[in-house]
Symmetry: D3
């Protein structure tokens, strides 16, 4: 892990989204109102870790209109540094419309992100070496480089600079079919992964994009074999019903596989829970060992399922309470 005395614990780069959703169970096609949350995988990680007390920054570009303040204020509220956010004239806010599910209706997400201010980020927008030198960890994910050529190149530049500056690099293999085919995703990711220290994946994306099949150990090992990632994390969400489920995760590091403590949850709002998981893992990794990191991530992810919006808006103390208790049914007075 990078030394502790840098200005930021982690800097994330990406595209924030206005998440617009009807009240639970109402359909998008006939709703008369939409709830608004700020979302986006890369924003979520910065916000979750800031909420947990870490020093985080967020690199993005926003259109200079009233809507951009939704993002800026959300960053400020959670404690994410906003000095790396650029306001531009032109561009737009990316939007995702989401509809909650109930059996047998599937959850639904519609994206309206083409032409977003964030998608116009290019490798010339920032001094990547300066940024990398100010932070211990760097985060991005599989979505951001898919937003455009500039985003892809900026990711490459940032990760290259991060390696040079001794940052720990994190990359979550989020895959969105509306952005690219498995082939184009794989080609792009394949240039980034050799620079990734901590890789997050799951069995589905591993098969769809990389064709990796087999048990979890095999899948995780393939990433080490093909891209020499230092640490491979694999997550698994199991839904019992549309409203309840459980979460677990594993890590392959230095040839060893560890598995976290499994947590059940009520699923009030599942969006962003994977990002909460990784934020929790990283918090645990800053604070303890890998086993603690997996457990902490799983617990935070479980709580995140019960919280409206994409960010698990809780303090470390609340997660510790979950980690240490057996029953969640007694009123805390």
């Amino acid at each position: 892990m990078t030394e502790n005395n840098r200005e930021f614990d982690i800097i994330s780069i990406g595209e924030p989204l206005l998440r617009l959703s009807p009240p639970r169970f109402t359909q998008l096609r006939c709703t008369r109102s939409l709830d608004l949350h700020v979302a986006g995988s890369q924003f979520n990680v910065a916000a979750n870790l800031a909420r947990l007390g870490k020093k985080t920054g967020f690199i993005t570009k926003l259109p200079s209109n009233s809507l951009c303040f939704q993002v800026v204020d959300a960053c400020s509220r959670f404690g994410v540094d906003i000095s790396l956010i650029k306001m531009i004239s032109g561009g737009k806010m990316g939007v995702t419309y989401v509809e909650f599910s109930a059996v047998p209706r599937s959850p639904l997400a519609i994206y309206d992100r083409a032409g977003s201010a964030a998608s116009t980020i290019t490798k010339d927008d920032y001094d990547w070496h300066d940024i990398a030198g100010r932070t211990r960890f760097i985060y991005s994910d599989g979505i951001f480089p898919g937003l455009g050529r500039g985003c892809f190149e900026a990711t490459l530049e940032l990760f290259t600079a991060a390696k040079e500056k001794g940052c720990t690099t994190c990359f979550d293999l989020n895959y969105r079919t509306h952005l690219w085919t498995p082939e184009t995703a794989r080609k792009a990711w394949a240039q980034i992964l050799p620079m990734v220290d901590i890789l997050v994946t799951n069995s589905n994306v591993s098969e769809v994009v990389f064709g990796y099949r087999g048990n979890d150990e095999t899948v995780m090992s393939n990433y080490v074999r093909d891209f020499d990632c230092h640490m491979v994390l694999l997550t698994r969400r199991e839904m019992y019903t549309s409203q309840t489920g459980a979460w677990n995760s594993k890590v392959l590091c230095d040839g060893n596989i560890l598995e976290g403590k499994r947590f059940e949850f009520d699923s009030i709002d599942r969006y962003g829970t994977g990002d909460a998981w990784f934020s929790g893992f990283l918090f645990g990794y800053y604070e303890g060992d890998l086993q603690f990191a997996l457990d902490f991530g799983n617990a935070l992810c479980a709580i995140a399922h019960t919280i409206e919006g994409d960010v698990a808006n809780v303090s470390p103390e609340e997660v510790h309470a979950i980690l240490n208790e057996n029953s969640h049914f007694d009123v805390k007075r």
Copy 2:
């Protein structure tokens, strides 16, 4: 089935209701607000089939005040033809107040329909032969003839005309204790059933009104024996908890019994789901064979349980997706 070249696929006759319900779990006795949906079995069938793309019409009478536009606009929105709706001065909108349930509270429905404009329909209000000649199917149910002598006679006239014009006639044995006793219902229905091609029933009403007991096959056969219905459909809702359950249905036709594919559901709003089922069955029957009709109806009915209001507001494509998938838990992005 009647030939395909008529103006309407189906015409339904009946009484639309303003459905007023407190927010879920709030009691009627102390609520300070009521959500408003347009409902009523006969309206529901016309609306569901219109939403699925069929040409449907609705015969009713409405009071000429602002409230009637709730019904007219709902018809228009779903695509139901409104040219057979008559506005009258005097009369009122029928209303049903419904309270949602949670164990051990039962669901509750209070009707305020006496004197509704729709209940003043008489056999002299329409040219039934003209109407019957313009549609392939005719639909009404056990409720409508119970609203008054005029409604009963109008039903008889319409079904008689329908048989003469070669329509396929459909009748769903909805029974409401606030309208009549089992005896009076049976006497009225017994005059209609010999003209019914497609009959919808369930084991409860079969026993209460007709005294039919025994297994499903026996019950269904009794209708064929006593009323010579061409096709008898029997539905079954099984509740696991107050919020989850499953639905299935069977058909007896030409001496054969088929059973549909069973669908589980989350029960957000169960009102009108039986009507959704029959609409789905009929859509399937228009488009495919009896097995497909049962399956499609069951799938639509399951979705309908997750949608607020009485009408399953979905397109055929969405039902097909349900029919073909195994898991409903992944986000569709």
Copy 3:
């Protein structure tokens, strides 16, 4: 005024209504929710005076379903005695749908009251002499006898008994075109008015129903001339805009005319404000002289315009504060 030692200060007879209204400015034709208040002129008077600390009772009949508890609970909350309310099987709750206005849209009220449980009140339902003997004042209005023959006869019986028992009788000439023509109203009212001590009217109904024209003094005098009412009250609402206005009132008693202090108001919810006025007048009449009664009524009526629902939900102290202050713009901390 009747002596002070009776069980009730006033008993009102009439029909309570569920008042259903869209959020302000939303149209009835397209609203998806309705706010629910308990209303009805005769209920309003009993509720307002109970809220002001008077002992009031309400005579009505309600259907024995969950909705009737809306009325019973409203009575209890305001402090109206419910022992004279009868629950019957059958019947329904009267309903009024109201839409708020904004220039140039007029306010709108649709009634659905035919067949209400209250409208089935007959002269045989109560022991009118017993009731009259227990109260100092009796109240009803021009609407209630218009609900049906039984209601008219019950009003006659009650007012006859009231005169025999020495009660002070009050009658407010509310006129609703959906109930009767001016001629039928006049014929019915003409039988009641000779038994009325305190009559409430305005210039519009005086002209439409009785053909009285001329200035206020002339109009009020006509009631004394034709019906020998002891006291004639005349109210006047002046709207400046759709959201602001002023209220005043006059009394003709023993040949003298007094005019109250005029109060301006913001009009948030104008329904029931006339009933609030008379309740305030009567409270003032119990507590002071006629001038105080007019002033108190006007002040209460002004406040009532600012309060959602039909009942001016305030204590005498709050009215006194309004009566005594010049500015209403400072925060009371």
Copy 4:
């Protein structure tokens, strides 16, 4: 049981609370609105029994501002006599903020009651013998004497007077850690319990405060042994999931143990359900035998879990319906 001809069936003494809660699943830390209900164990019992038709009174003190009317109006609405409520200048309304739970988040309650008007009750505030002479039962619980020295002494005075006047005394061992330690609670309660006829407890408080361990029979017997209570009631809530569970209760009386009929429930709002249970038990005890009392209490408690707010807002008929039916899934039309 005390004779039937007293003015009140039960008088409860205590502190009402404004219960402020975010919409279900929203966190207190980020909510922008709070729903308001009137709560407090002692209020709940008076309100529940009034709603069931019993004559109940409530002894408390309230601050003389607008907020106090929330309590007064709630009492009036449920039918609780308000003549024993004193308005004082100074003091405040006690408040409890509650957050609903979802696995793995625990339910949460934050109290803000120090300095409440009710907590300033002293033994000099009321004529306890007069009050005791007017009621058959007296109720308080473990919380009220913990609010301050005055409340403790007032409880002692009231219970002493109650014994002298032949009232049946009831005491529910509610324990709140924010009020006192187990030791201070035990010392205070130990002075009250010898005057208690009907004691309500559960296994958790029995162990924490009194150190009673063992099976239910042992625990209940200990109270008889140590404090000579006539009747000891023990309740048990079993949560299956955060949203579903079951309730049961036992009584030890005259050496015999009876167990009630177990009822399952959906948990929409669990706050106040213990109070609902005891209210139901007492209603059953007024009306029938101990077995009926347990069953009725369990049924009422189960319904109470489905009703928003602390009071189970139902009539005896609705509880009887639950007691007698097997399925709660059919619509009551």
Copy 5:
């Protein structure tokens, strides 16, 4: 005017928008929810005239996802024919975020329409002659040709075809600074205006885009002089306060100038009121003479200011009532 026997009274071409707005007075920058209405000038005209009973069609392209049904269902609800709407894969829904004003905050509108499905309309998408032959009037406005080269050319083709087929062509000079400069707008419009029969303008756009200054007569005459428009309409909104104002309009036709009856209004939702005005004018022009058309348009426009959303959701009868009455303050019962 074109002859009466065509299939459509008017066909409008353009881009529908999802209009997302915070609750009144809440800021866009901090709102947590947005109300959703379907808007867009060209949609508004089709919807208003359909609601008034005219046969209208709407030409547009929509993305084939759940959001498009918001538009399709809105068309259906108002009665606009949807057969000319094309669903395409790719593209997005245009969005406008609007914030309501209060002095001294100005109203605010942010557009996110680049890349909308509608903006991809080209001259090759439709058979313009066929469309023109089926309708009496054609409508578009200054915005639509500004969405892209294809939209501009499609407008030219449609207007050219319209002239050949004898349609009456209507064009409203809506100008949006986010689309183009005054110069580019003028150049584009200058190619369309010679084909326009009925032109709608106001003094502001006349000066900004065309440099026309002077009194109304001069401004209107300039359009006749420069583009030979048959009829020039000029509208004027006067705001008294942020919440109240008045509307009037004039027409120059065959050298004569007429002015309408001025209507005052409460401004609840001013968006789309200009479109309502033109719809009302056109309805009046279909039904009566120019003076009636101006008056009817002004009255409809005034009502439209009181109705949430962009469409004045009223029937002709309601407008006639406004036209004929002096006061809008009496409840219509």
Copy 6:
């Protein structure tokens, strides 16, 4: 003015409040929900100036429960530094319940602040010299020293240290009758005022507490005469109706009196607007001259009346736009 190179532009000390208010026009006595905003004069000034881009800090103490995060998150969102906030166990959140007004109802505020964590601040809690040395301006007001002896002494210590460290000290004479009498307030304030550079007052408090009468010049001069304040600011709110009004302000400095540009406003939420004014004045004073400061303050105050909650949530650019425009009625697209 203090030099520019300090860490903070301003540090405010005081008590944050949870402001709980019913929806506009609903009464506190019967509301079922409360909107929550963070308020408190001293918080408001820190938040407004942070939102305008200044570096601000807030000294307070909060109870360590979930509710305290409402304050911490509000600080973070607006950009107020939270490092001077102390979390303590025990204590509570101060609360103010506010009811909005409509003629003739007055606005209403009920405080529940006794025992708040903030009111336990003492002079021993902070290193006042260290704090004073890090900021250019210090702010508190007339309320905070009234919360308790400790708060008063802490204010004295802070202002003393501020003078020693060369800070500019600001004090707003907010007076609350629930805290103290005019005499006790005057005695306390008289010890603080000699250390105040910039004093804010109005004619009402000047008369009530200090007995200053006469025109504005006289009143302002009295403060200079008696306490030698460097700058005296006097504000004036004029209400036209309950919903509209105007604001102005004057400054007396170095013997000269300047008056600002008067701004009219719609009054959506008047709470906190005085704090917004002073924040705007101070921003203007940082950035320009005294005339600009008055004008900017007035404009910000006017906008603040239109914004829900106590903080004027706008950027300097938005205020500049108001300062420079004549009409606020045109949509900004």
